[in-house]
């Protein structure tokens, strides 16, 4: 009964909704002026759909250290790591080396594949002959300026 429902407080506080969904109150229905948004799916942009293509294989990790700053990875940044991506040259990887997980760029150095960083203190590590194992490929870095 639309007339009665006015007296009830709605179950959801309408003002706090992230988007002006049409609620079960169906206001457009009895006002006579259908909302122009009625035909559009109530959807908002979801960062997950952009940054996380394979949720099952995606893990988040925190970066520590300053030697990847040249590639835009700073201390405390959030990395979106997708373990299902095949690594290619130029990708940023999380790799396991001697019992430690490291963030490095997979690139050619003097013609052979190396794990590189951008800090002069840490020269490129040759992949050949090392027991390095791939953990995942970094799909995105999230650097929060305001926390």
């Amino acid at each position: 009964m639309p007339g009665q429902s006015v007296h009830f407080t709605p179950a959801l506080p309408l003002t706090c909704q992230p988007l002006p969904y049409l609620t079960f109150m169906g206001r457009a229905g009895f006002s006579g002026f259908p909302s122009p948004a009625q035909d559009y799916e109530p959807c908002t942009l979801d960062l997950n759909t952009r940054l996380v293509k394979n949720p099952t294989q995606t893990f988040y990790v925190t970066a520590t250290g300053d030697s990847m700053e040249g590639w835009g990875i700073f201390e405390g940044d959030l990395l979106v790591v997708d373990r299902s991506i095949e690594p290619r040259l130029g990708h940023i990887l999380v790799a396991m080396l001697e019992g430690e997980a490291l963030i490095k760029r997979y690139a050619l150095y003097q013609g052979t594949p190396h794990l590189c960083s951008t800090h002069p203190h840490y020269p490129p590590l040759p992949l050949e002959g090392s027991d390095c194992q791939l953990w995942g490929v970094v799909r995105a870095v999230i650097h929060e300026y305001v926390r």
Binding site: T56, F59, G65
Partner: protein
């Protein structure tokens, strides 16, 4: 063909994904409240440390750094288990999770070679995408698949994937050297009784007369024998036999997304599970709650969440389990999904008599020794569900002792895995933090001194 995908030392493997330094080291995972060892890495097994060793006996080894002992991190294991199930769901026509680390996959219409190839591919993919080592057993029946998985784990020559036919020389040879006690559903006592009748190996059981088995033992054992011959005759629900976990799940008559309705269904399942638990005189250490949407409705949004809640101390009290179920449901329930099925799984069971009492967390304070027994008795005599539990109490504080729990890497923003940009970066950062903490501590001390 039926496949059984079983993770190797699942709890330890989950820990190793996020702590690569544990690779190749002896690692154990302890029960709630750090009571005893409930999961062991191959290296720990090699040290002859049996399952269920009380943690205090290993304290010396731990402090000397010879072994690593971790508190159970059920949130992490539950999340990894859900990922494993999802990965299989994406690759196989049908799957059925059997426990937190075992999943059946149903591969109808594939040839043996295709199944084996798929098994290898799955194994490789799970290792690559989730970092978990698994073994795959393939066979025409559940019971044989379980055995095939056992062989795949034992014998390195299979490289993690073993396919058993119902007939054939390999199957015969393997079954002949498998003690009957290793067959699924044959417990120690049953194995002893079978041995009296001259049934010692899995092969003997397979060759036994089915009618005689039914007469002398049970229908279930007769079915097991048939299954060993490659004739599928067990439904998933009948597979509960050696109960290391108890599952009760039910599909809804109509899909529902309403919290109260889902909760109601789960409460029913939890009560039934708790009854089964008491029937076999076990206690559960953890409770897993799971929900499924209807995966055949491609037009609807899909969601297959689960949550694992550790109990403060092993329990068979319906009230404790109901409370854990509510907590779990609150974690995973999302509106706007239409759920088709909900279930409760009781995990890591212990024998009620053998269970060690915890000093710090005495069993639920208001526990009444006869309450549960009385409820069960009434329900048995007057029909199931005569006495039911209504709404449970307000959330109890679950204060678990978990001094050595690793971070919950996949479920908490502030506990993510830290990865260094150069060797030693993480260690340096941790040292720095420690220093800061100490400084803060000394400065507060200084601050309080004048007042004192």
């Amino acid at each position: 063909m039926i496949g059984l995908v079983d993770a190797n030392n699942f709890y330890v493997s989950c820990e190793r994904v996020f702590q690569p330094k544990l690779e190749g080291r002896p690692v154990g995972v302890m029960s709630n409240n750090d009571g005893c060892v409930i999961a062991r890495s191959a290296e720990l097994k090699a040290l002859d440390i049996p399952m269920g060793t009380p943690a205090f006996k290993l304290e010396g080894l731990r402090q000397r750094g010879e072994i690593h002992l971790l508190s159970s991190n059920y949130e992490l294991y539950g999340d990894m288990s859900a990922r494993l199930a999802q990965l299989l769901r994406d690759a196989c026509p049908e799957i059925a999770p059997y426990s937190i680390d075992e999943m059946f996959v149903y591969l109808d219409g594939f040839t043996n070679d295709q199944c084996e190839a798929l098994g290898r591919k799955l194994r490789q993919r799970i290792h690559r995408h989730l970092g978990l080592p698994v073994c795959v057993g393939l066979a025409p029946t559940h019971t044989l698949a379980k055995l095939a998985n056992h062989f795949a784990k034992q014998d390195p020559h299979y490289q993690g994937v073993c396919l058993l036919n119902g007939q054939g020389h390999t199957t015969e040879a393997l079954l002949k050297r498998t003690p009957v006690g290793s067959v699924w559903g044959v417990g120690r006592r049953l194995a002893e009784r079978l041995a009296i009748g001259g049934v010692n190996t899995a092969w003997d059981l397979r060759e036994s007369d089915e009618k005689l088995l039914r007469k002398r033992f049970s229908v279930v054992l007769a079915r097991t024998a048939l299954e060993l011959r490659g004739t599928p005759c067990m439904e998933m629900n009948a597979l509960d036999q050696p109960r290391q976990r108890i599952m009760t799940s039910r599909s809804f008559g109509q899909p529902t997304g309403i919290f109260a309705e889902v909760h109601n269904a789960l409460r029913r399942n939890a009560q039934r599970s708790a009854e089964k638990l008491r029937e076999q005189q076990s206690l559960a250490r953890a409770v897993m709650v799971f929900l499924n949407t209807n995966r055949h409705r491609r037009d609807q949004k899909q969601y297959f969440p689960n949550a694992v809640i550790a109990l403060p101390s092993p329990s068979d009290d319906t009230r404790v389990i109901l409370d854990a179920v509510r907590q779990g449901l609150e974690q995973i329930h999302r509106p706007r999904y239409q759920f088709m099925k909900a279930g409760v799984m009781l995990l890591d069971l212990v024998d009620a008599e053998q269970h060690q009492l915890s000093l710090l967390n005495p069993p639920t304070r208001d526990r009444h020794p006869f309450l549960m027994a009385t409820v069960d008795q009434i329900n048995q005599q007057m029909g199931q569900g005569t006495i039911r539990f209504g709404m449970t109490d307000a959330p109890a504080a679950w204060q678990l002792r978990c001094a050595h729990r690793s971070d919950r890497y996949t479920t908490r923003w502030d506990e993510l895995m830290k990865v260094g940009t150069h060797p030693g970066a993480v260690a340096a950062a941790e040292a720095k933090q420690q220093q800061k903490k100490q400084q803060a501590l000394t400065s507060t001390k200084r601050g309080t001194q004048p007042r004192a």
